[in-house]
């Protein structure tokens, strides 16, 4: 079936772990936007949710770092962090090994992707799932883009990964929803934690909503590091979703910097209506 949903959201651990330290008004508005995203995804009646994440040394390390990876398991445990620290209880999310394998085989036609039959979710996936599938009743297929240990993928390859995921999802009989998670500008887990470059974020989201490939790929890691921090490397996850939604127009449902959450808190999605069928013709 054609891809049924494509969106992006934040995943910073402070969103759940430091919830009581944020201004309740802006926090609750952000949570409400997450709830709306959950309802929007549910309305598409997905068979599985692909989460494109940028994990933080929960599974992958510099001894053998995959640039792109997809999960291929029947279940995934999380969070790998201390449950109290993250504010999310230990859970087991369902997967679907067979569906993953068919998706991976198709993605491999154009992008060399690693697969993992074992995968522990860190906050990069656990925080979005806490809001989007709170009952852990929707099969998850985790995807990862190395955004932590350089050298990192060129942005054009992150876009191509999205195109490959789209082609693969469209070719499957199942209904696949896709969510990318990452920060835009942020300096997480450093002494500058909380710093957010709001104008930079808004400019990036403008490019994202226009699905402007040239503008989205017109960044380099040097200037991203200066303007958007090492957390800005995670724009790859958003760009992958743009590649999957090529030709679509996006809407930002929520964007506000919340310093104690250490990120410009974001919920956005693409209107896939105009693109359905197009990808299959290419």
């Amino acid at each position: 079936m054609p891809l049924v949903y494509a969106g992006v959201c934040s995943h910073a651990p402070g969103i759940t772990g430091r919830a009581n330290q944020a201004d309740p008004t802006v926090r609750d508005a952000f949570y409400a936007s997450f709830d709306q995203m959950r309802r929007d995804i549910e309305a598409t009646k997905p068979d599985a949710l692909v989460v494109i994440a940028a994990e933080h040394f929960a599974n992958f390390f510099m001894d053998n770092m995959p640039t792109f990876a997809l999960g291929m398991a029947d279940f995934y445990d999380g969070p790998i962090e201390d449950a109290g620290w993250l504010g999310i209880d230990k859970f087991r999310a369902p997967g679907n090994r067979d569906l993953s394998e068919r998706l991976i085989k198709e993605v491999m036609q154009t992008v060399d992707v690693s697969y993992a039959e074992e995968w522990k979710f860190d906050h990069g996936i656990a925080v979005p799932l806490h809001f989007l599938t709170p009952n852990f009743d929707l099969p998850i297929i985790p995807a990862n883009i190395n955004c932590q240990g350089p050298p990192l993928s060129p942005l054009s390859r992150a876009w191509a990964f999205g195109e490959a995921l789209r082609r693969a999802a469209d070719a499957l009989p199942e209904r696949i929803a896709l969510v990318g998670t990452g920060g835009i500008s942020h300096w997480p887990a450093t002494p500058d934690s909380g710093k957010i470059n709001e104008p930079w974020d808004r400019d990036f989201l403008d490019r994202w909503c226009r699905n402007d490939r040239d503008a989205l790929l017109d960044y380099d890691d040097g200037t991203v590091y200066t303007d958007a921090g090492q957390g800005g490397f995670e724009i790859r996850t958003f760009i992958t979703v743009s590649g999957a939604a090529a030709g679509a127009t996006g809407t930002v449902h929520f964007y506000e910097p919340i310093p104690i959450f250490a990120v410009g808190c974001t919920v956005a999605s693409y209107d896939l209506g105009a693109t359905v069928g197009v990808a299959r013709l290419i």
Partner: protein, 113 residues
């Protein structure tokens, strides 16, 4: 200078409760099999969060090591700042400091409480 092995030890520790228990029981024994300098060994066993940040340990690894030692979030951030103050800029890895004013001042400037 063996930042890779410092981080590898912490990566393995963070994801394995058994290793955490072994480290808490005997810190020197837990790091014995890793190729480390004396400075790195001292920082990992103390633990010296500021020194580890100065050496270039990625915060996504370091913050869980701090949590293991019951170091609260604001204290974790302060220890990194103190480490930079005491030892100088981050030696290696992906970090630089930017002179951020801190979350309280920042939130106020956004009209948040």
């Amino acid at each position: 200078m063996s930042l890779y092995y410092v981080q590898k030890f912490l990566y393995e520790l963070n994801r394995d409760e058994g290793k955490q228990q072994a480290y808490m029981a005997d810190r020197d024994a837990a790091i014995a099999s890793f190729e480390l300098t004396n400075e790195e060994r001292a920082a990992l066993t103390a633990p010296d969060i500021g020194m580890l940040f100065h050496l270039g340990v990625n915060g996504q690894i370091l913050m869980h090591f701090a949590a293991l030692h019951q170091i609260e979030w604001a204290d974790y951030l302060q220890r990194m700042r103190d480490g930079i103050q005491a030892h100088g800029p981050v030696r290696e890895g992906v970090y630089a400091m930017t002179g951020y004013e801190g979350t309280d001042v920042h939130a106020k400037s956004l009209g948040q409480e």
